[in-house]
Subunit: 255 residues, 2 copies
């Protein structure tokens, strides 16, 4: 705490649900030489409250990845009603970041540590030509995908497994690369395909690795039975490419 | 015709179906000091064919207006198969302009003069907060809209009428401001509202004027019965605002 009362610990914890178009950002987390979603939020809070406010997200999203239900918490020097906070933030934030909901939260609420489950959705446009309005929100796969093969592979991958073969950097995980993938489904509606993945916790680039593998299965490059073999190998190889970021949405976080 | 054979009249007419995100363009039609969709197409044709190719659209779209089914024709010095032309154009065009279909066409086919019917859709997001991914593709209306009132007003406006009160510049029309509005409907699915308008021909900014008026009716500013009175007045007033361009899509052209 300094003499001006700035930077003091504040007692008023707030919870935010945030949507963003990740196209123009270097990701969620503040980093040098790059616009980030967290950076934009903290900069708006600085103007709004005259103190430094740290915004804690439920987790990072990578460069170019989107969110429809990112959750964050922050401590503010005064208590705000949800609507007033939502309107004040949205009035100052760029239009590609929107606060969908703002509420007071218990002091014990922590956006990352209190999260019990997350859902990501990976969105694919499967047709020869990608519609211009979707170009930043879909992975574009030209060759026809096989839904049955993708569903079979997804069923193999769902459940509790060591996903070392499906993370970009297994050494980054300090304790274990075993995760409970509670749901992994592939659905199709016209040219729109969605891979939905739900877990208590994901490894680094795990969803894009699962999507990259399922797309290879769908295009016939790899048989669905390979899923079990790759899981068992616990080794990341070229058979599991990382699908591009523009298809990925952090969909929802449960508490 | 010059000695190199450039600028000669070519015998091979082609038809294009084009989708574009109008956000970054000054509209369809070529104009000085502004990127235009027609300009981008003609520039790609110049590289592709080594001659000046004029691209004739079914009609202009204004700055910021989108298309999912704009149609154009052009005469090329050689005959192209549809797929080859589509792939060559899409390989060189910016990603916010896409050729959806390319075919050979009869010499008598004219994108504007042969059109018998057009459909525009005006898309609205009706909720307090506009999702970031839709910010360039929806008009954002915060206050709740009344579907019944909008449908009643739309039913009044459909049919053959003098639409002088629903065009930005009635003097621009040389012959008549009477048009056959074959369809004008309002539909809703969650926060997404769509006004669909079909006619053999539209006046200047007619769809955005109809949308602007219907939104005023939906928000309760004007009773639906005003539609008949405004039609009869044949005078454009502040009761008919022009809705913003980002909600408007040229949806389809019939031949």
């Amino acid at each position: 705490m300094d003499g001006n009362g700035t930077n003091r610990l504040s007692a008023y914890r707030h919870k935010l649900v945030i949507a963003y178009d990740g196209s123009a950002y270097g990701g969620w987390q503040i980093q040098p030489n790059s616009r980030t979603v967290q950076g934009e939020l903290e900069s708006v809070f600085r103007t709004l409250t005259n103190v430094e406010v740290k915004v804690h997200g439920s987790g990072r999203t990578d460069q170019g990845v989107h969110a429809l239900g990112q959750v964050a918490h922050c401590d503010l020097p005064t208590a705000w009603t949800g609507d007033r906070l939502l309107n004040a933030l949205n009035a100052s934030l760029p239009r590609d970041i929107r606060i969908l909901k703002a509420t007071r939260a218990a002091e014990t609420f922590h956006a990352r540590r209190s999260a019990v489950r997350k859902e990501y959705r990976y969105c694919i446009w499967n047709a020869p030509v990608l519609l211009p309005h979707l170009r930043q929100y879909r992975a574009h796969i030209r060759e026809p995908l096989n839904l049955g093969a993708m569903c079979a592979a997804a069923a193999c991958l769902a459940g509790v497994h060591d996903f070392a073969a499906f993370t970009a950097n297994p050494n980054r995980e300090v304790d274990s690369t075993t995760r409970n993938l509670m749901k992994l489904t592939v659905t199709q509606k016209g040219h729109d395909w969605v891979i939905a993945a739900m877990s208590e916790g994901f490894l680094y680039k795990m969803v894009r690795s699962l999507a990259g593998f399922l797309i290879r299965v769908g295009s016939g490059a790899v048989p669905p039975q390979e899923a079990a073999r790759i899981l068992q190998s616990k080794e990341r190889t070229a058979r599991v490419p990382t699908a591009p970021p523009e298809g990925l949405f952090l969909w929802r976080v449960w508490y």
